[in-house]
Symmetry: C2
Subunit: 324 residues, 2 copies
């Protein structure tokens, strides 16, 4: 397709410095080696991002790279895993040049240093379509210790890390909303959309504490529904208990409608989880330095109910965002 340096020369130059693990062989082999870690299971997950679907063509290449890595690290975080490395499959349209790739690799490199992971392998190909990336991330948990979606039981409390709705708010700002916000607020929301922080320290601190957990990617209510399905329980969320950032309240209003929008918008990448002991949760939150808020409880039944300040159930026309 496009006339560019060969796949091999390009990979060697731009991506090889990211292969910091000895088992990645500087990307000069067909495969990488990942030695087993004594007493640990490997946790593996994959997430694909498509330009125009999961990120905007106008997003800087460095933040596209970071988002692709972070949404995968977020899955590992929710499972209590310590990330070790990742593989990257990259399908590039013709317009992508070496400068783009260098910025992209710079973003990956920054996040590799921050989250202590190595690129283990990759594949680069041309595409006549939009830029598409798939990352497969791997991490370790003590044997048998992965936090599952199954495990929530009636009587558990429901918690969320950080604040909810900021990712969706950031997307709205990028699409032209947010005239009422000041520059700092707009930036804060856009950063949450483009570079959500994976809650790795919290996830690891929640091993043996959380009864069930997942990361919120499609919207708080939609994702909690996955816990209810797999655990066979009902979850009740009090919309007034859910934490919203000041910037998001400025964007969508400090109103019932604004809060409903927040709990049904996507791209949060916070950890939603259930636990029996609130004291143990607060200790884990303190250890990890990630704020955690109790937002509801688990009871017998099925589905997710969202209650208003008066304890009345709020009917939801759509529970969350799906990319499909």
């Amino acid at each position: 397709m496009a006339k560019r340096p060969s796949e091999f020369a390009l990979i060697a130059k731009v991506f090889a410095p990211l292969a910091t693990s000895p088992g990645a062989f500087d990307l000069r082999d067909d495969a990488a080696v990942l030695p087993a870690r004594e007493g640990c299971d490997l946790v593996v997950t994959t997430d694909a991002l498509v330009e125009g679907v999961h990120f905007l063509a106008s997003d800087p290449p460095g933040t596209v790279a970071k988002k692709a890595l972070r949404v995968n690290l977020s899955d590992l975080a929710a499972k209590g895993a310590e990330p070790v490395g990742y593989l990257l499959a990259l399908s590039l349209p013709e317009r992508v040049d070496e400068a783009w790739l260098e910025s992209f690799a710079q973003g990956l490199g920054d996040d590799q240093a921050e989250f202590n992971v190595s690129l283990l392998g990759g594949d680069t190909t041309a595409t006549p379509g939009p830029l598409t990336l798939a990352i497969t991330a791997m991490g370790h948990v003590p044997t048998g210790g992965m936090i599952r979606r199954a495990g929530a039981v009636a009587g558990d409390a429901v918690f969320i890390s950080g604040t909810i709705g900021d990712g969706g708010g950031g997307l709205a700002v990028l699409k032209g909303d947010g005239e009422r916000l000041d520059a700092r607020e707009r930036e804060e929301l856009v950063a949450r959309y483009r570079t959500p922080p994976p809650r790795l320290a919290l996830g690891q601190a929640l091993r043996g504490v959380a009864s069930a957990a997942l990361d919120v990617s499609d919207g708080l209510i939609a994702d909690l529904a996955h816990i209810t399905e797999v655990s066979g329980v009902r979850i009740v969320v009090e919309v007034e208990q859910v934490p919203y950032s000041q910037a998001l309240r400025a964007l969508w209003g400090d109103t019932r409608e604004g809060r409903i929008r927040a709990v049904t918008s996507g791209d949060d990448y916070e950890i939603a989880f259930t636990a029996r002991s609130e004291a143990a949760v607060l200790a884990a939150a303190r250890r990890s330095g990630v704020p955690v808020t109790r937002i509801g409880w688990v009871e017998a039944g099925s589905g997710v109910a969202l209650l208003d300040a008066d304890g009345r159930e709020i009917p939801l026309s759509h529970a969350g965002f799906t990319h499909f």
Copy 2:
């Protein structure tokens, strides 16, 4: 985007039966668990396929699925690994319906049974572009036992499994060549393009025997060049020693030109390797039931030389096919 059953309902129905490993949790979690295997390293590799680049829009969904899995299993084979599972990131254009997905999943299921692997996780998303798949495959080798690209030394012989050029020949047939061939010959070549057999038994038998190995995806000469670069040696191939199928000779002619075309065309997915002991190689070939042919030797120097029947070097205008 397209109005279809939600991502979650669809995954549950079509792909969950492929998650045969207990650690895949029927795909009802954020991640899968892969327990460590005692005394083994994990080998990981990823390859992406784009419609119109790596397969044709007219290819049956079942063979698209099989090719995506097999090109990854082929990497594991060349490294001496025993495959255990894979993750699938699937970006689907609007026209893809449930019938397509069912055929696709059927192809995966057939190959899972044949090669003893489980789907461990996946991600499905919509795309406005061509169908794009990325598979990450994992397998085990005894600790430290992965066969590398590095390791070839002067004095080793060079070998290839199966026959060379059939994948490229199959693509040529699908593009309208092959009028001289009978239906069986055309079918044979097309099958090699659409569903190349990963040489897993041979790869495992070559542990401790091969000094260097890789799978041939971009063309025999281009891929051998990777061994020379990483091992720091020169490889000499005698074009008359390279094995060609009867069907391919019927397609491209039993001529010098036909043979040059074969060694520079892609999509073979045979294992090219170097070894000191021809006797040990022949024993491994017998054990695995995969035919192996000696096609040249390793010497001091750099690059790959292709010799004709008279021992004269054949100048090559392009060494192989690159998808980029």
